[in-house]
């Protein structure tokens, strides 16, 4: 059974076509994957990689998501570079949807009712949800008979208890606008936490796991007995860890101070804390950890070094905080671009954690990039893993389950 996974951003569409066979991870075959960027702009960039063949790149104007998705289908069906004979081979489409509000606590088959509810959540994710909807509409048009499913970034965190998701602001604002913490990266936290439980040979429902999804966007989750009980992103993704360009946790008073001193309106303030802060803001160099590491460690740049120390320090504080939230921790997992490809990052974060039962395995960690690896010592009470995430797989598996009943 072939499932097409789509991740539609405001000006991009990422896709993977997966052959699910049994639905189990080990049987999944990725037939093709790719991305279209700069949708709606001149010279859109198209990248397409069919299994076992060379990557195809081209540049061509793509006016909107429908045209982009149409092109994806054409490529999948192309006699030379395609992997499908007929579009009827696509049994389902799985969409990544950013914000499911309080309505969605799991993946769903998309119906008109679901679409209506997704529209209600647009206010909470004004950049992402409309793009996700565009992808759904385009698919309805292009493949009207194929079932579509939605997997929400927020759904996994809907199990948080009220004392974790409520802000200490007037309660009326929750009633009125549903202002609360939602969290994101749900599919990733779910995937790697479940994987970690398997690796430990324990039941998912019986372990306490802290998952660190460290990419350009970054969040941490506390997963207790298979359920997310807390996560660092909130109503919006700006909360929590320090990220490539996002400030993460910051004194609200400091925000007011800057808005006042620099005469920033809300939009400018939003831009500041989302796009100009984080690793980029402190290092004054780059939002890319590799650049900053090079400047800090090879060139001795003070601000880059500080940015890294802050980044590590905050992850460490969250790990401690979630250990307390769960009353202990059995495993710590690193994933996301930085988590998977940053052995130094993992080592710095895990330093001085012996008192909590973490025995870090430096030899196993050194130089390991984008590979699943246990980086704690065999006798470490708390296990530490680097696990490449696979959000597309979660989306495809959920779609598989939904249409197979």
């Amino acid at each position: 059974m072939k499932i097409l996974v789509l991740n539609c951003g405001s000006s991009s569409v990422k896709f993977q076509l997966m052959d699910m066979i049994s639905g189990r991870e080990e049987d999944v075959d990725v037939l093709a994957s790719g991305i279209i960027e700069r949708i709606g702009l001149k010279d859109s960039k198209i990248s397409y990689e069919p299994k076992g063949q060379n990557k195809v790149k081209k540049i061509q104007d793509i006016a909107d998501h429908t045209q982009g998705i149409d092109l994806i289908l054409q490529m999948l069906l192309d006699p030379q570079i395609g992997v499908l004979k007929s579009k009827h081979e696509i049994a389902a489409v799985g969409h990544r949807v950013v914000h499911g509000g309080e309505t969605f606590s799991g993946s769903v088959k998309i119906t008109q009712d679901v679409i209506d509810k997704m529209i209600e959540c647009v206010d909470l994710a004004p950049l992402h949800n409309p793009a996700n909807l565009k992808g759904i509409y385009a698919m309805q048009k292009l493949l009207p008979d194929v079932p579509q499913c939605g997997t929400f970034d927020t759904a996994f965190h809907q199990t948080m208890p009220d004392y974790a998701y409520m802000y200490a602001i007037p309660y009326a604002l929750y009633d009125k606008y549903k202002i609360r913490r939602y969290g994101f990266h749900g599919a990733s936290h779910y995937y790697v936490s479940k994987k970690a439980a398997q690796l430990m040979g324990k039941k998912y429902e019986e372990v306490k796991i802290i998952t660190c999804h460290l990419g350009n966007g970054a969040s941490i989750a506390a997963v207790k007995n298979g359920k997310s009980v807390d996560t660092s992103m909130g109503l919006t993704p700006v909360e929590g860890l320090m990220m490539g360009t996002r400030a993460g946790d910051l004194d609200i008073g400091a925000l007011f101070y800057i808005m006042d001193k620099e005469k920033l309106d809300r939009e400018a303030a939003n831009n500041l804390v989302n796009k100009l802060s984080g690793v980029l803001g402190v290092s004054e160099l780059s939002s890319d950890m590799r650049d900053v590491e090079e400047a800090a460690w090879l060139k001795g740049d003070y601000k880059s070094d500080l940015a890294l120390k802050m980044y590590f320090y905050r992850v460490k504080k969250y790990i401690g905080s979630y250990a307390a939230a769960m009353g202990g921790v059995d495993a710590i997992v690193f994933t996301g671009g930085v988590g998977e490809r940053g052995p130094e990052t993992r080592e710095f974060i895990c330093s001085d954690m012996e008192f909590m039962g973490v025995k870090f395995n430096k030899a196993a960690n050194d130089g390991v990039k984008a590979k699943l690896v246990e980086i704690s010592m065999p006798d470490s009470k708390v296990k530490v893993y680097a696990i490449p995430t696979n959000e597309e797989l979660v989306i495809a598996q959920d779609a598989y389950k939904l249409i197979n009943g």
């Binding site: 109503l235 909360e239 004194d251 101070y257 979630y322």
Partner: protein, 404 residues
């Protein structure tokens, strides 16, 4: 040596009069409220419980301080014959910025530096300065000392105090985390170390100052390495009416939805949030607890959120310190609310924290060890006394004598 301790707020002055030669005995204390408004309220209490109250217009801090001096020298309810018996004045100063890492004798340069920090504490520092200037005028030859709320935290490392904002804001405005309640964190950490018979400088300590304002501090070998309040006192724990940590996205979203100005938004997170905001009832923990016990859901939620935030900071600071030897509770709630202490420490055995429930239940406003004997991390209730710290620092600086 007699020392007058002053804590000048924007519309109030609190004072204490202590005899440092006599084991820092508290001779008198009082408060003036509603300064600048009609019908100011003056309340004074002497060590022997003789009280004096009056209602009178107090147009400014200078008039207020004059009233305090008159009260202290009053033959009936005062404690000294003439103002010459005041040997030094200790002032609480809210914000010392990066300029002050400890208490100092006040001179012109110090006053200038306090003034430079006004931008960082626009409500408090001007009031503190008013008190200093009034004192200089009224008793010009008496030495004055400034004790800062922020100075204890100046030992934090940059990764703890720099915000993940463009670095230029630090250069330009000294925008960073400062922390507050420094005198309290230091005092209770020192006293609690003595109390358990250990050396303060050898310990890793987490202090929780839980009052109407609330903050926590991680102390390693006698130095603050992190604290929960930041540039302003809004950050960190849930407080009586302050939100503590809340996402920037939340604030910007609310401002947009409710069309709020900065001032209005600031008002919400400072004065209408926290325990009051969630419960919709009260900012007072005692009342809230009563409501919770009577089944009020939102009162329960407010307490749950309050406790959960403290637990998270304990975990966080435990990792920052590489394990904590002691946790100290202080402030009105920390000293008196056994339920909060119990909820905070529940299920933290993995971090070596184990309460003795009976000891915890009996601890109220008195120094008490409330952890069980085999708890790896000691848990201690220690009443704070910021005025005493101010008096001691003042005494030390003026007389070069150590106090405790």
């Amino acid at each position: 040596m007699n020392i007058l301790v002053l804590n000048c707020g924007s519309s109030s002055i609190k004072y204490q009069f202590l005899d440092m030669c006599n084991n820092a005995e508290l001779k008198a204390k009082g408060i003036i409220e509603r300064i600048g408004l009609k019908d100011g309220i003056v309340k004074h209490k002497r060590f022997d419980d003789v009280k004096h109250q009056l209602i009178t217009d107090v147009p400014n801090h200078e008039v207020g301080i004059n009233i305090i001096l008159a009260i202290l020298t009053n033959p009936e309810y005062g404690v000294i014959k003439t103002i010459d018996e005041i040997k030094a004045v200790g002032h609480r100063v809210a914000h010392g910025g990066e300029n002050f890492t400890k208490s100092v004798l006040i001179n012109q340069a110090v006053k200038d530096d306090i003034e430079k920090c006004i931008d960082l504490a626009p409500l408090h520092n001007p009031a503190n300065l008013k008190g200093i200037l009034a004192m200089e005028k009224l008793i010009p030859n008496v030495p004055q000392v400034a004790v800062f709320d922020t100075s204890f935290h100046q030992t934090m490392p940059p990764e703890a105090y720099i915000y993940a904002l463009p670095y230029e804001y630090y250069d330009k405005y000294k925008l960073r985390r400062y922390g507050f309640h420094g005198t309290s964190h230091k005092y209770v950490a020192q006293r609690a170390s003595q109390f358990i018979g250990k050396k303060y400088e050898d310990l890793k300590i987490i202090t929780a100052h839980l009052g109407n304002g609330a903050s926590m501090c991680a102390i390693k070998n006698g130095e603050s390495v992190d604290t929960s309040m930041g540039l302003t006192p809004i950050e960190g724990l849930v407080m009586g009416t302050r939100s503590g940590d809340a996402g920037l996205g939340v604030v910007l979203y609310m401002m947009e939805k409710e069309n709020l100005s900065l001032k209005a938004m600031s008002d919400i997170v400072n004065k209408k949030s926290g325990l009051l905001g969630i419960s919709g009832l009260t900012s007072d923990m005692r009342d809230l607890r009563k409501a919770r016990d009577e089944g009020n859901e939102k009162a329960k939620l407010a307490i749950d959120i309050f406790v959960y935030r403290i637990r998270k900071y304990i975990g966080s600071y435990t990792y920052v310190l590489g394990g904590a030897d002691m946790i100290v509770f202080t402030g009105g709630i920390g000293e008196n609310e056994e339920l909060i202490r119990k909820m905070v420490c529940e299920n933290l055995e993995f971090a070596g924290i184990e309460l003795d429930l009976a000891l915890n239940n009996s601890a109220k406003g008195e120094p008490t060890i409330i952890s069980s004997p085999n708890s790896k991390t000691k848990v201690v209730v220690m009443p704070t006394n910021e005025e005493l710290v101010i008096a001691c620092d003042t005494n030390k600086i003026v007389s070069k004598n150590n106090c405790f």
